[in-house]
Amino acid sequence: MAAEITLAMRNVSKRFKKGEMYDSLRDLVPGLARRLLGKAPARESRDFWALRDVSFEITRGEAVGIVGNNGAGKSTILKILSGIMKPTSGTMTVAGRLSALIEVGAGFHPDLTGRENVYLNGAILGMSRAEVKRKFDEIVEFSGLTEFIDTPVKRYSSGMFARLGFSVAAHVDPDVLIVDEVLSVGDYVFQQKCAERMTQVVSAGATVVFVSHNLHAVSDLCTRTVWLHQGQVAGIGPTADVIRAYLDRAREGVKDGPTEDAYIADVKLKQRDGTETVAVEAGDTVTVEVLVRARQKCERLSVGVQVYDDSSYNVFNTSTERLGSGSFTVTPDQPFYTTFELQLHLGAGTYLLGVNLHRYDVQKQYDHRFPAATFFVKNQQDVRGAANLYPRVAAFGPATVRTPSVGAAK
């Protein structure tokens, strides 16, 4: 690839010391004495490698996501990227001005007014006073806090605090932007605004590294993703592929092996063209493909599917039995396929798919996979809530009352 490399990590490892750190002199003296007498545990056993041999390169203008479980090393990599920590071994190089949004409103002082904090925070994030002055109105307008800007921030709600913090951060024009889940601040409107701003930053040609638990946001924003697992790079490549691999692994972790005679062997979420998917447009049709296997012959089985939103609300559920396709029998030499075609008229968000294997007449649950898959729904229109009802709006004249035309948009 001829593209210019903006950020490169080469064989980066980071070691932390587990256990006692000498926080005060009182601890240090006996600690050293113990070590001299050879009673302290061997050094190596107290070492903990948060990152091991991590290498990747990011080219100019690329948006790269970093995903992984808790403890996978995401925070550590973030701190190394932003220069707060130095790697134990390996190198990290950055070309250009780097700005890290690890915490919004860092350095905000409660006694200072919003205005004063904007200048302070701007300076902390690397802007000059002249730069903040130039962008001040824009920043305040973005935060939507124009009327409170001369109020001390200690009187702000936590949402207002975060909004002002993000607004300042969003107006730093870095060459490389490192973002840590700050998108999850404020209410829905503000989150949308933040997401838009991030997309703007990306399209303006900045290089973005986005570290998040929110796979939805990552798949929206990033073309490429690095998957960290136990401090090592477990996968790197196009976002959709990496996220799918990551979710597969997460699912394996949940499953504790089939214990019943019949079990769900595989669940796939497929687009119309037959490829597996994690991100869909509202209204798209997807197919849930469920493979059931048996160790012994099992009769009168039924497969159910459930869709939950990210707050665990059951948006939808049904089963083969309830849909009238009846029950089926599975034998060890004959696995059974069930497919559900679903039209996802859902609001934007993250959804979890659950699949269960059930026998109704004796009320026996054979298997339950949750989450069997995770997917994200995108909406073209700005509609909120769990469902998309495809609104179409008509404007009323001042005197005449007309009925809005009915029908789906587009």
């Binding site: 932390f16 750190m21 000498y22 926080d23 005060s24 002199l25 009182r26 240090l28 701190k79 932003s82 220069g83 707060i84 920590m85 130095k86 890290a100 690890i102 915490e103 860092a106 350095g107 002082h109 006694d111 200072l112 004063e116 200048y119 302070l120 300076a123 902390i124 994030l125 690397g126 802007m127 000059s128 006073r129």
Partner: protein, 261 residues
């Protein structure tokens, strides 16, 4: 080294803003506001005058106006040294979230702590100038020494402050040791009295790098005499050495700040 200076220069607005914040928050929501900058040194001056009066009483002499000038000229910079060292020591611990969350040249924190106290010092100095004029202190060419002496004190304070700021991040005891040290340091520094009253222990007293500065300021301002040259030279050398050591140690330890808090 050049790169370090360039980075520091590039982030000068941050230094300015942090200094400004230190000053503003100290006086926000306080009834007296900026008067505190004068009140603190005033208390030390007051204590010094009481001590002088006691000395005079014991010795059976009279307290003269030049004594008042002498003791106040020593007290105001001493108040600056104590406050700046204390603030610098706590400057990193007090900004934990910034040290852990955002990268910046961290020496800005102790530097800003010293700078904000220097602003207080300037306010107090203005008040002191008025006082000196009122008590009729003379003016002489020796006053040209004043900026030099103050510069030495500032260099020493910055050096000590960066060193203590870094040390207190690793060992919380440092903070308490500094408090104890600052409380008792007044006994080994000629603040309330002249170094001369220590007679043959004068040398011992002047080994404290702050002492020659205070002696010099008292000599040049209150008595229109030249400062003790050799001792001022010694103090300057020690101060520069402390500054260089402080910054080197600070930069050496800086990569471990975020994980040591």
């Amino acid at each position: 080294m050049i790169g370090w200076l360039r980075e520091l220069y590039r982030r000068r607005d941050l230094f300015y803003m942090i200094t400004w914040r230190e000053i503003v928050i100290r006086y926000k929501q306080s009834v007296m506001g900026f008067l505190w900058a004068i009140l603190m040194p005033l208390l030390i001056v007051g204590a010094g005058i009481v001590v002088r009066a006691a000395f005079a009483y014991v010795a059976g002499t009279k307290l003269v106006t030049s004594d008042l000038a002498d003791v106040s000229v020593r007290s105001v910079p001493w108040a600056f040294f104590v406050a700046a060292t204390r603030f610098a020591t706590n400057s990193l611990i007090g900004n934990v979230s910034l040290v852990q969350k955002i990268y910046m040249p961290r020496e800005i924190f102790p530097l800003a702590a010293v700078a904000s106290n220097f602003v207080d010092f300037l306010v107090a100095s203005a008040a002191l100038t008025v006082f000196l004029a009122v008590v009729g202190t003379g003016v002489s060419v020796q006053l040209l020494w004043v900026p030099v002496l103050v510069l030495i004190l500032v260099i020493f304070t910055i050096g000590l402050g960066t060193l203590l700021a870094a040390a207190s991040l690793f060992f919380r005891d440092v903070k308490y040791l500094v408090e104890v040290f600052l409380t008792f340091a007044i006994f080994v520094t000629p603040v309330f009295f002249s170094a001369d009253i220590f007679a043959r222990f004068r040398t011992f007293l002047l080994l404290n790098p702050v002492s020659p500065v205070l002696e010099g300021l008292a000599q040049t301002i209150a008595h229109q005499q030249p400062p003790p040259m050799y001792w001022v030279g010694y103090s300057a050398a020690v101060s520069v050495a402390v500054l260089v050591t402080g910054l080197l140690v600070f930069k050496r330890l800086e990569p471990y700040f975020a994980e040591s808090i």
